[in-house]
């Protein structure tokens, strides 16, 4: 088969994987080698759906022996099949890399013959790149569920980041839609990777030149909106993954209807829901929130109209307004509309002078939402005071405009519809 055709088929099959980051690694070039990594990652292009293209995201093969209902490559689906040889993958990566098209390779694969056999093919491709081409760019590889531990360890020593997809947010959904995968088969390699990373950190502390094991950590992905889990379940799961396995990222992928199973929704992808989950995910990782603060028994899903932080703030009006000149860092982070950068600016500037609203404006701190929650030197912004019924209309996020084609009214039902159609039938 022609190279161009294979590339089309296998990138088409790989595109539903959300992850495309090239951050977290500080691999340097070596004499006679090619490439390096940038710790913050570099996006090299943006596809027409607005997602970044940082890595050559591709499958080794899409001829899968599993029949996961939500997946485009399931064995019962009628799609064109193709396979790259490890050497073809390596050559393509090198040629693209030299032209600055990509930061490196994101290699995944359908399961062919057995989990171990597939892993060996992935390892071989990465080995050719690292050893024969002396490639020092970024490599993200998938560990195949239920592959043997020794293979996972070998792959980890060659890559910058590894990931095992958790696929669906609960065991019950997994057993319905991916009967050949189990929670155990997914969590075992995840645990093995996180153990190896921790162990490797200790080795590196002792021996500076010890080989690095997946220095950019591991990530995972779950599909949102295909199964009936609530946002609360999902975000709680993410939190425990971050805590237990110290994952770098959990990706959420709004389910694009590619399955034919009548239990799966056929509506367009719940993009707003995905967006809210990402916002909450950031709150977990960088803003010191915990999952149970964001959602509780009474609030199972995120508010469609305001972002999770704003939602939280409106439920905790007793904590506001905060005095910008005195409030501790942790509390400033909880002010809606203030991000890490703004808070850092405020913390720096207030060391040397008392800040007023004019100063904040000069410092380019966005006031659109924050003004309802802060005071400067005891003064409120234009005498605004927090009264939910008055200010909520002003806080409505402009997600309709900012996140493209969908308007709020389009998005609202999709997530729930999917849930309803499932709960009704299951």
């Amino acid at each position: 088969m022609e190279l161009a055709k294979k590339l089309r088929i296998l990138s088409d099959s790989a595109k539903y994987d959300a992850s495309c980051s090239s951050s977290g690694s500080t691999r340097k070039n070596t004499p006679g080698g090619l490439g390096s990594t940038a710790p913050a990652g570099i996006c090299h292009s943006f596809s027409a759906d607005g997602r970044c293209i940082s890595l050559l995201k591709i499958l080794l093969t899409n001829a899968c022996m599993y029949d996961c209902q939500y997946c485009i490559n399931r064995s019962s689906n009628d799609v064109e099949r193709a396979a790259f040889s490890p050497r073809e993958i390596a050559e393509l990566t090198i040629e693209f890399y030299k032209r600055n098209y990509i930061e490196g390779l994101f290699l995944s694969s359908a399961v062919v013959r057995s989990a171990d056999y597939t892993m060996e093919l992935i390892i071989e491709s990465v080995r050719i790149l690292r050893e024969e081409y002396r490639f020092n760019g970024y490599i993200h590889a998938k560990a195949i569920p239920s592959a043997s531990e020794a293979l996972v360890k070998r792959l980890g020593l060659l890559t910058d980041r590894m990931s095992v997809n958790i696929e669906l947010p609960s065991n019950a959904s997994l057993s319905v839609f991916a009967p050949q995968k189990s929670k155990q088969a997914i969590l075992t390699p995840m645990k093995s990777i996180s153990d190896s990373i921790r162990q490797n950190k200790e080795e590196l502390a002792l021996y500076r030149h010890a080989p690095e094991f997946s220095p950019a950590g591991q990530s995972t992905q779950m599909i949102i909106g295909a199964t009936p889990e609530s946002d609360r379940q999902i975000i709680t799961l993410s939190e425990s993954l971050y805590k237990k396995y110290s994952l770098k990222r959990v990706y959420y992928s709004a389910y694009v209807p590619v399955g034919s199973n009548p239990l799966l929704p056929t509506v367009s992808p719940p993009l707003l829901r995905e967006h809210r989950l990402y916002q909450a995910d950031w709150l977990l990782r960088y803003y010191g929130f915990s999952a149970k603060e964001l959602l509780d028994e009474k609030h199972q899903n995120f508010n469609n109209f305001v972002d999770p932080k704003c939602d939280w703030a409106l439920r905790h009006k007793e904590l506001f307004p905060l005095e910008i000149n005195r409030a501790p860092y942790e509390m400033l982070l909880r002010v809606p509309g203030l991000g890490i950068r703004s808070v850092n600016k405020i913390i720096r500037a207030r060391r040397v002078c008392k800040l007023s609203f004019e100063d904040l404006k000069k410092m380019k701190i966005p006031m659109r939402r924050a003004k309802y929650f802060i005071t400067c030197g005891g003064k409120t912004y234009d005498n605004i005071w927090i009264r939910e019924e008055l200010i909520t209309p002003f806080l409505l996020s402009d997600s309709g405009a900012a996140y493209g084609q969908m308007s709020i009214s389009d998005c609202q039902p999709t997530g729930e519809d999917g849930v309803k159609c499932l709960t009704g039938e299951m």
Binding site: K15, N29, G35, P257, A349, V352, G404, Q405
Partner: protein, 255 residues
């Protein structure tokens, strides 16, 4: 420092030239009204123009003073702001330097001071522009083995690109051509920036078109059609870059 009245400094456009002007301002105890590049001098009616001679030693003394009395980061920010070539940025830099000598390394905390915020903003804009080119530079493999790229940056970012690409493509010769300023960043073991005479004539190697078309194919298939979002794409990848991005310019991938 006394008010320099209508004095306008003209310098040759180089960074050393600019620092020589700063040196001059301190030496003569005056605050010029403007510091301008000779080639775009406005020549106002009441201006008293003074031409600054570029003096490497003077420039070095200013550099050293900034690094020692303020901080290395401040020096870097001044350099980036200078690269912006925004009219009037030189006076902002001079004010920032004066403020810096007064406040020492804490100067960057005074975000509510106009000159500090303006300088940091300018530096940030330039760094962001440079980062865009780490992303969007596309090399073409030429006959003879050189990797060539053409760009048209808003600001003069070539000096900021050198380190990244020199580390990354250590063993291949490459070249980035800024067609707006007619400057060329050349790497063949070490980096240098040269003035280009005329447009470089390039001839691509045999397999260049093949890889361009493969890349275009990849770019097109990786989109999830159900999530098409034109606005989001051009937010991240503004259209002014498209002309030199392989996958966005039909002339580059179609034979």
């Amino acid at each position: 420092m006394s008010d320099g009245g209508d004095v306008v400094y003209l310098y040759d456009g180089s960074f050393d030239g600019f620092f020589s002007a700063v040196f001059e301002a301190y030496y003569r105890h005056e605050r010029p009204r403007r510091i301008e590049r000779m080639q775009n001098a406005q020549g106002g009616l009441f201006d008293i123009p003074i031409t600054i001679k570029t003096d490497k030693q003077h420039a070095e003394r200013v550099s050293a003073a900034i690094r020692k009395k303020i901080s290395y980061a401040a020096w870097e920010n001044i350099y980036c702001a200078y690269l912006s070539e925004i009219p009037g940025i030189e006076i902002v830099c001079l004010e920032y330097i004066a403020t810096g000598f007064r406040l020492r390394k804490n100067v960057d905390l005074y975000l509510n001071a106009d000159c500090v915020m303006q300088l940091l903003t300018a530096a940030k804009t330039v760094k962001n522009e440079a980062h865009k080119f780490l992303e969007f530079i596309r090399f073409s493999h030429l006959e003879g083995g050189v990797y060539f790229s053409e760009i048209e940056p808003k600001y003069n970012v070539l000096p900021l690109l050198a380190r990244h690409f020199a580390e990354r493509f250590l063993n291949t010769p490459w070249m980035i051509y800024d067609s707006k300023r007619r400057l060329c960043l050349v790497f063949d073991g070490e980096c240098r920036i040269t003035k280009a005479e005329g447009t470089p004539q390039i001839k691509c190697s045999e397999d260049e078109l093949l890889y361009r078309s493969l890349w275009k194919k990849f770019y097109d298939t990786i989109e999830i059609k159900q999530r098409h979002n034109e606005k989001c794409r051009s937010n991240h990848m503004p259209k002014r870059f498209w002309r030199h991005i392989t996958e966005m310019n039909p002339q580059s991938y179609a034979p």
